[in-house]
Symmetry: none
C-alpha cells in the first residue's frame, strides 16, 4: 500500500537479466541524462554489486547505489500498476504496441493519475523473453530502420528517457475519469492469474496437453492486459473460491 506522496514522478527503469556490467553503467548514465534515477535490476548475470558497472557509470554512480536487485521480473514489477516491455521486433501478444513517444505520453498521464509505472529492458542480444513480456501491460517498440536495427541497451534506455523528458512539459490532463481509482498492483494481478490457472488446471480446462501451454499463455496475457482494480481482483478470487465450495457441496 502506498500513499500518493510515495509514488515516484518517474518510471522505474528495470533491466532484466543484464549481462555486461559496462552496459548497466551505461544505462545508468543514459537514465540520468534525462533525470531518471530509479533503476531496478533483475538477476544480473555477474551478480551485484558489479565493479564494471560502477566504473562505467562514472558520475551516475548514485543511480546504481539506489538500484533495487530482484530475483525475477514478478518481484521487480510487484508494486507497479502499469508495466511497459521494450521489444525490438513485433510479437503477437495481443497487447497495445506503443512508439516511445506514445508510451511516454501514456506514462505521464498514468503517473499524474497516481499510478506507479515500470519499463522492462531485456538482456543484450536476446532481449526479453515471451514470459517476461506476458507480465507487461503494453509493448514499446522503437521504430528503427527495418534493414538495420542495432540499438544497444543504453541507447534504448536513452531514447525512452529522452521521450519522457521531452513530453514532461506537455502532459495532457487525464481525461478518462479514472483518477483516484485503486488499481491492482502487478503482484496482485500475478496472484490472481496463478489462482485462476490453478483452478482451471484442477478442473481439467487445459486440454489437450499439447495446447495447454499456449492456453495458459493466452490467459496470462489476458490478465496482464485488463485494467483491473483491487476490488475486481478480490471479487474474482471470491468467485474462484466459491466454485470450489460449490463443487464440494456435491
Amino acid at each position: 500500500m502506498n500513499t500518493p506522496a510515495e509514488i515516484p514522478a518517474i518510471p522505474a527503469v528495470i533491466l532484466v537479466r543484464p549481462q555486461m556490467g559496462e552496459n548497466i553503467g551505461a544505462a545508468a548514465r543514459a537514465m540520468l541524462n534525462f533525470g531518471l534515477d530509479h533503476m531496478r535490476i533483475v538477476a544480473p548475470r555477474d551478480g551485484w554489486p558489479n565493479p564494471a558497472a560502477v566504473a562505467m557509470a562514472s558520475g551516475a554512480g548514485r543511480v546504481l547505489d539506489g538500484a533495487q536487485v530482484t530475483a525475477d521480473v514478478a518481484q521487480a514489477v510487484g508494486d507497479c500498476t502499469f508495466v511497459y516491455a521494450t521489444t525490438a521486433r513485433p510479437r503477437d501478444m495481443t497487447k497495445p504496441v506503443f512508439t516511445p513517444e506514445a508510451a511516454m505520453a501514456d506514462a505521464h498521464a498514468r503517473i499524474k493519475a497516481g499510478q506507479r509505472v515500470g519499463i522492462l529492458f531485456g538482456p543484450e542480444r536476446a532481449g526479453l523473453e515471451n514470459d517476461d513480456i506476458a507480465q507487461a501491460n503494453a509493448i514499446i517498440s522503437v521504430p528503427v530502420n527495418p534493414d538495420f536495427a542495432s540499438l544497444n541497451l543504453a541507447q534504448c534506455v536513452l531514447l525512452v528517457g529522452y521521450e519522457f523528458m521531452r513530453q514532461r512539459a506537455t502532459v495532457a490532463p487525464v481525461q478518462d475519469g479514472l483518477a483516484g481509482t485503486d488499481w491492482a498492483q502487478h503482484a496482485e494481478i500475478e496472484h490472481l492469474a496463478k489462482h485462476f490457472e490453478e483452478r482451471m488446471d484442477v478442473a481439467g480446462f487445459f486440454f489437450p496437453d499439447h495446447k495447454a501451454q499456449s492456453m495458459k499463455t493466452n490467459l496470462r496475457n489476458m490478465w496482464s492486459r485488463l485494467p483491473l482494480t483491487r476490488a475486481d481482483v478480490q471479487m474474482l478470487h471470491g468467485t474462484l473460491r466459491q466454485m470450489v465450495r460449490w463443487k464440494e457441496r456435491g
Copy 2:
C-alpha cells in the same frame, strides 16, 4: 547546382574533427538505425580510412564507405543550403536555438522545399568551436539534465536521427498496434456477463442476500469496463463450462 532529383531526402551528418575511430563507427551505426546514410567527416584526427571505425561500424560499414572526407567545415557544408550545429551548452551566437524536435521538423520542411541540409557534430569532449558554429544557420541543443549531461557523439547522433525519423513517421497515421484486433462486441460482453452471473448464482456466490444486487452490479461494471477480445470471451465461456463439468465429475 543540383536538380531537385539529386537532393537527398535526408540530412548529411557531418562529424567535425572526430578523434576516436570507434566513435565514428558508432555514429555510423546510430545513423543507419534511423535511415541516415549520408556522412561527411571533417579532418579526422587519425586520418582516413580508419580500421577502428570500420570494426565498430560492423553492419553499417556502407555508411563509412560512402563518407566524404574534407579538410575543413566550409568544404563539408559547401553544397548545403541550411546547416545546424549541435552544442551541449548554450552559446551567445545570435542564432536560433532549436530542440532536436523543432530542428528536425524544420529540416523536413526544408528538404521538402528542395533544400539540402547538414548537421554538424563536434569532436568528443570539446565539442564544436565558435568558428565552426559561425558557419551554421541554427543551433540544436538537446535538453538534458543540467546536473548530468554526458551524451557521447553517437548518442547525440542517435537522438537527432531518432527525431528525424519520428517526424517522418508522423506523416502517416500512427497505429497503436491493436488495429485489426477482433474486439468483442457489446452483445457478446453482455452474454458473457450473464453467463458468469448465472454460474456464480448457482454456485451460491451472491451471499448474503442483501448484498447480492450490489455484487452483481460490481461484476457487471467490471465486464463492461474490460477491453476483451472475442477470443478472450470464448476462453472465459470455456472456463465457466469447464467448472460445470468438473463439478459433475463429482
